[in-house]
Amino acid sequence: MLKSLKESDFGAQVKKSIFRVGIPNTDRKRVLIVLGNVFLHLHPTKVRTSGVKLRYTWCAGGLSFFLFLVLTLTGVLLMFYYRPTVEGAYVDMLDIRSQVPFGIMRELHRWSAHAMVIMVMVHMFRVFMTGSYKPPREFNWVIGVILLVLTFLLSFTGYLLPWDQLAIWAITVGSNMAKAHPLVGAGGPFSDFLQIGGVPLVHPGSDARFMLLGAKEIGGTTLLRFYVLHCVGIPLGAAVLMAVHFWRIRKDGGISGPL
């Protein structure tokens, strides 16, 4: 029996079925392990040496992505305990702090969110300073700018969810801007031009701010709207754009460097 235990290739079969290649100790296997793994194959098999240097990229793009993953994970955990209603939201915040085991999920989520905004700004700064937006990477820079805006919006919609004083007033200040929109904001210029037979089309019950908040003032409808955007809408958009962003890095010839 001992002999058959020794000879069994059970373990090897399991390992091979998962990793497809054994320990990557030859160049061939180094190629195969990157190509054969859905996560690793975001990378090419080889990269320009100057591009992997820490002093060049500062890892800022990679860490932005990592923080996005942390946020997705902790965000999903938070969703188990959080109800986006005026009655539930604040109570759930208290419970997440005091009742839920391993109660630093909210902290992890909040600090990662701040860190991601900072990291994306740092990444943009790096890309500018190395001139990496120059041809052929112009379009990837534009994708990046949209990702930057989405990162701001992700953080902005999340800011409302704790439903405390900090939350609603920060969103009030932010969303008052929508009121000032020309033509489509009730407080903006030219909005009184849009009328039919003297009946104004743009008023606080129909303008851009109303669309954002789902009501004239921040309330339950706003909370639900921001919740859906924060947990589903914007992350999906950002994920799709990140896929495009990474794809384009490779199509544009990998990380930039002097030719």
């Binding site: 989520h109 500018f128 190395t130 001139g131 937006y133 120059k134 900090l166 008052n176 801007m177």
Partner: protein, 404 residues
């Protein structure tokens, strides 16, 4: 905290007074803007290990000493403000790191050497294990940092939301404080709508207007002077600077407070801002102003006694009133309109012949116009700041629809 103890220490008091004085936006903005140009001009002397280390230590020491003061502690140690301090350090480090390498490459260029990145840019490295190894370590370090941060600093939770109790100050999330700060100088529809859109569009336009082929894929300053200087001005002296001011130095009523000042909600700051038109009419044309200011300065429906006015059919009244108002506004604001016309229409032409001559000759009309408009639009912000501080200027042009 021992506020009583520190209050007696004259050295600490002097330090606080110095910081409060330096932080006044009139001075700190000047220091930030001029400092940026000076640093770039003397980049060889500034961007080395000594100066970089010194600045970081100085920043840390000021904050650490400052935390002894209760007012400073109240704002800087606020959980949601901690990331801003981190951003301050990261910005310093990354700016320094980029410029150190740029200076190094400049030195290499003088010795007819290619940029340092070129040494390794022709060779390739295996992703497995070399890159993954770096990524793995970065990931572990950041994870540990996040977990420690999460354990030691609780996420803030204030009183439950109460729409009838407006806190003072009410602040937007920190990354929008630059926009909120612009509300001080611009009408909401510029600060909140037009300028953000121009910033986004302008960022997207960068790769298409910068047709300088040099500096692609390595750190440099001397090969891209104009591009880097204008980007750094917008990013550091305006965006990051306004976030830091907005977080730490704007208190109740969006009034300015030094970092060691108590945020007094009753602080009253006289609001005596005036428009260009007020200056022009009152100072230069006092006679006309006195004779006619009632008609010209009262916006709204014109005088009904006017004979021509009575001939207008009622259905057209609104339209005519509108154009009448437009006419008055144009007359009243002529000086500001002339100035903005000069600024946005004549300056591009003048710049094409002077500072931007080289760029103008190497590019086409579309790229040149987009670039100049972006730079000039960005320039209105420091211009408006300085005019506000020097002349209490509110708007160059102030009409019921467009205020700038």
């Amino acid at each position: 905290m021992h506020p009583v103890e520190t209050a007696n220490n004259p050295l600490f008091e002097a330090f606080k007074a110095l910081c409060n004085g330096l932080a006044d936006p009139r001075l700190s903005f000047l220091l930030a803007a001029v400092g940026l140009f000076v640093m770039l001009r003397f980049r060889r002397q500034v961007f080395n290990w000594w100066v970089g280390g010194l600045v970081l230590i100085l920043e840390a020491v000021v904050i650490l000493i400052g935390l002894k003061d209760p007012n400073f502690h109240l704002i800087v140690a606020k959980p949601d403000n901690v990331p801003i301090t981190i951003m301050l350090f990261l910005t310093t480090i990354t700016f320094w790191l980029a410029m150190v390498q740029a200076v190094e490459n400049e030195r290499r260029a003088e010795q007819k050497l290619p940029p340092a990145e070129k040494e390794t840019s022709q060779s390739k490295t295996w992703v497995w294990p070399d890159l993954l190894y770096i990524e793995f370590i970065a990931l572990i370090i950041v994870s540990v940092a996040l977990i420690l941060w999460a354990i030691y600093l609780r996420a803030p939770l204030e009183e439950p939301a109460n729409p009838s109790a407006t806190p003072n100050p009410s602040k937007a999330p920190w990354y929008f404080l630059g926009l909120q700060e612009m509300l001080v100088y611009y009408d909401p529809w510029y600060a909140g709508v037009v300028l953000p859109l121009i910033i986004i569009a302008g960022l997207c336009a960068i790769p298409y207007i910068d047709n300088n082929p040099k500096g692609n894929g390595y750190y440099t300053f001397s090969e891209r002077k104009f591009a880097i200087t204008s980007f750094l001005f917008g990013y550091l002296a305006l965006w990051v600077f306004m976030i830091i001011t907005g977080t730490f130095l704007r208190g109740p009523g969006w009034n300015f407070f030094g970092p060691f000042e108590y945020w007094d909600p009753h602080k009253v700051v006289a609001l005596n801002n005036v428009n260009v038109s007020d200056y022009v009419w009152v100072v230069f044309f006092p006679k006309i102003y006195r004779a006619t200011h009632i008609e010209w300065f009262n916006q709204g429906l014109p005088n009904v006694q006017n004979v021509i006015w009575q001939l207008v059919p009622p259905s057209m009244e609104n339209t005519v009133a509108f154009f009448h108002e437009v006419g008055q506004a144009l007359k009243r604001e002529f000086a500001g309109i002339l100035f903005l016309g000069f600024y946005f229409l004549a300056l591009p032409g003048a710049l094409a012949k002077t500072w931007l001559k080289k760029f103008y000759e190497n590019t086409d009309v579309i790229r040149y116009s987009v670039l100049v408009m972006l730079v000039l639009t960005m320039g209105t912000l420091p211009l408006k700041m300085v005019c506000r501080w020097l002349f209490n200027l509110k708007y160059f042009v102030d009409t019921p629809w467009i205020k700038f």
